[in-house]
């Protein structure tokens, strides 16, 4: 019970409180709220990734596959069959979860870099399929969500703030799932698998099932993020939705820069990287071609050189965090 008021929880609560109050201070149709929404959305994506990447230490570089599946499923259901994206979102999650389960079969034995590259290839496969099945997916041109004004039942709103609230809700849900997994029985098993798979098996952990569960949940949540992203930006095409650098790597990078496998990592990472990129773009992109990306890369390198274990390492080093950790193991 004393955990309820631990400094880490307090910090988390503070974060969500600040996030909830933020729209009051911003123009509901402006740029800043869009950036804030992007921060939260990318935090949710990174948190979904963190379930596989952080808890199970399966560094996936192909989560864009699930992200895109979510976006395509809900959007196509809506465009072709008129199914509201609220339902499409769920269907997308199921489809992505199924795809993750299918992908687990050939990849579950793979470790480390081999796993990373197999997932990367999977996302590429999805991209090529979306690109070449023009009749179904709209092909390389991509898909547009029709402009319908404000229709909450169809997941369409006029103000960015509405999307912001939805994304905030999504982030809270993803964080809750992450926390439940991390602190529950499966959390123990995932960490065991992460640290030594053979030993975990011998200690009675069904490593395949544990990994499968984690990747299905992670993929499903990622797909939900994909649907929300599609609804929020109204347009996507295969190259951007299945993008290695734009989605897959970014999800992983946020979690890693923030702190792999920690609940706060994706939040901190998104809060650091997304605004940073935005500022670099706003300030530098009219100066010289490439300068803003260059600056972003330099800062990224700097962040990793200074703290390779992620920004959360600073928090974990503070006395408050230490007491919490001791309490957690004692509980």
């Amino acid at each position: 019970m004393r955990n309820l008021f631990s400094p880490s929880r307090a910090a988390l609560l503070l974060f969500f409180l600040a996030a909830a109050l933020l729209p009051l201070a911003l123009d509901p149709r402006g740029h800043l709220i869009r950036v804030a929404a992007m921060v939260l959305l990318f935090a949710a994506m990174a948190q979904s990734w963190n379930i596989v990447g952080g808890l199970a230490n399966q560094i996936s570089l192909g989560h864009a596959a699930f992200f895109g599946l979510g976006a395509y499923t809900s959007t196509l259901l809506f465009l072709k069959l008129g199914v509201t994206p609220w339902i499409g979102m769920g269907v997308g999650a199921v489809v992505a979860g199924g795809a993750a389960a299918l992908l687990s079969i050939p990849t579950f034995r793979l470790k480390g870099h081999y796993f990373a590259l197999a997932t990367l290839a999977f996302a590429e496969v999805m991209r090529v399929i979306a690109n070449s099945l023009g009749d179904v997916t709209g092909g390389p041109v991509g898909l547009s969500i029709p402009f319908m004004g404000s229709q909450p039942a169809l997941f369409a709103f006029r103000s960015v703030a509405s999307y912001y609230w939805i994304i905030l809700g999504l982030l809270v849900a993803v964080c809750a799932v992450f926390h439940l997994l991390a602190s529950g029985a499966i959390g123990y098993r995932l960490r065991a698998v992460r640290e030594n798979e053979a030993a975990a098996e011998v200690a009675g952990v069904d490593t395949f099932r544990v990994k499968l569960t984690a990747s299905v949940i992670s993929a499903a949540l990622t797909a939900v993020c994909g649907t929300v992203f599609a609804q929020f930006t109204f347009f996507f095409d295969p190259d951007s939705i299945f993008s290695l650098s734009g989605i897959s790597v970014r999800m992983a990078m946020i979690a890693i820069v923030g702190g792999l496998g920690t609940l706060g990592g994706p939040l901190v990472g998104a809060l650091f990287l997304i605004p940073l990129e935005e500022v670099a773009n706003a300030v530098l992109s009219s100066q010289a071609a490439g300068l803003s990306q260059f600056a972003f890369g330099v800062i990224l390198i700097g962040a990793i050189l200074i703290q390779p274990r992620g920004l959360m390492a600073y928090w974990l080093r503070t006395p408050w965090a230490k007491t919490r950790r001791a309490a957690a193991t004692g509980a």
Binding site: A185, R189, A198, A199, D206
Partner: protein, 246 residues
């Protein structure tokens, strides 16, 4: 009475190498059997084959009348057989108790597993270090935690792979006392160890392997006196004599 563990002509090959070559033996409840043999004789491989970490090329393994070969390790663990790792393979980012709890989850829910872990840790006198990170442990402590983790799966057969290597004689005695206490509860052990002093003092029976093949099976005294065992493993020097003294 049927033996608790029965291995029938098991073989494991790596490419052309026969690491385990037609080994058959049995193990009864409450028995401690030692497995000795030169380096590379196939002892660890045999262990891995028994628990399902290493697929068998041929042969059968029965655990209490059930075929366990071809099952994944976690299934074998559920049926009651597990092993420790030659080079302690703990989960380094977890505390001692978390390591043990993970294994206890095999038969309990989270709450029950925590309680089970406490019991096991108490039994092995590890309660004082329950919250320590395993990365900070000393070698013998690690070996004990390996055993604790294995015990938390509530096995009937426990395979110990050199848990006493690198222990001082005094430390070895402590571990042997624990093993004997567990034997009294009905656990069966298969023990790999190169310390003949420990092996001779602990085991009811010895198996000796060389080049993957079983070369001797009998009481410790019989096996230690077996010419092939002396030739391939014990030698005539000081180390071998140590065995004879024990």
């Amino acid at each position: 009475m049927q033996p608790l563990l029965q291995a029938d002509a098991i073989c494991v090959t790596f490419g052309g190498l026969k690491a385990v070559d037609g080994v058959s033996f049995s193990l009864n409840a409450g028995e401690i059997v030692g497995l000795i043999g030169p380096n590379g004789a196939g002892k660890t491989t045999l262990f891995n084959a028994l628990v399902g970490l290493q697929p068998l090329t041929s042969g059968t393994v029965w655990l209490d009348g059930e075929r366990v070969c071809g099952l994944k390790p976690h299934k074998v663990a559920r049926l009651g057989m597990t092993k420790t790792f030659q080079n302690a393979a703990l989960f380094p980012d977890m505390s001692v108790k978390e390591n043990v709890t993970t294994a206890a989850l095999l038969r309990h829910d989270l709450k029950g597993a925590r309680a089970k872990a406490d019991t096991v840790l108490r039994k092995l006198d590890l309660t004082p270090i329950a919250d320590a990170d395993v990365a900070d442990l000393t070698f013998p402590q690690k070996a004990l935690v390996e055993m604790a983790r294995a015990l938390a799966t509530e096995p009937r057969v426990l395979l110990l792979d050199e848990v006493m290597a690198a222990l001082t004689p005094a430390e070895m005695d402590e571990v042997m006392a624990v093993i004997r206490a567990l034997k009294a509860e009905g656990l069966a052990f298969l023990v790999v160890e190169h310390h003949m002093r420990a092996i001779m003092a602990l085991c009811d029976r010895l198996l000796a392997v060389n080049f993957g093949r079983l070369i001797a099976d009998g009481t410790p005294a019989q096996v230690a006196a077996h010419p092939q065992v002396i030739e391939a493993y014990l030698g005539h020097g000081a180390a071998g004599k140590e065995a004879a003294h024990a």
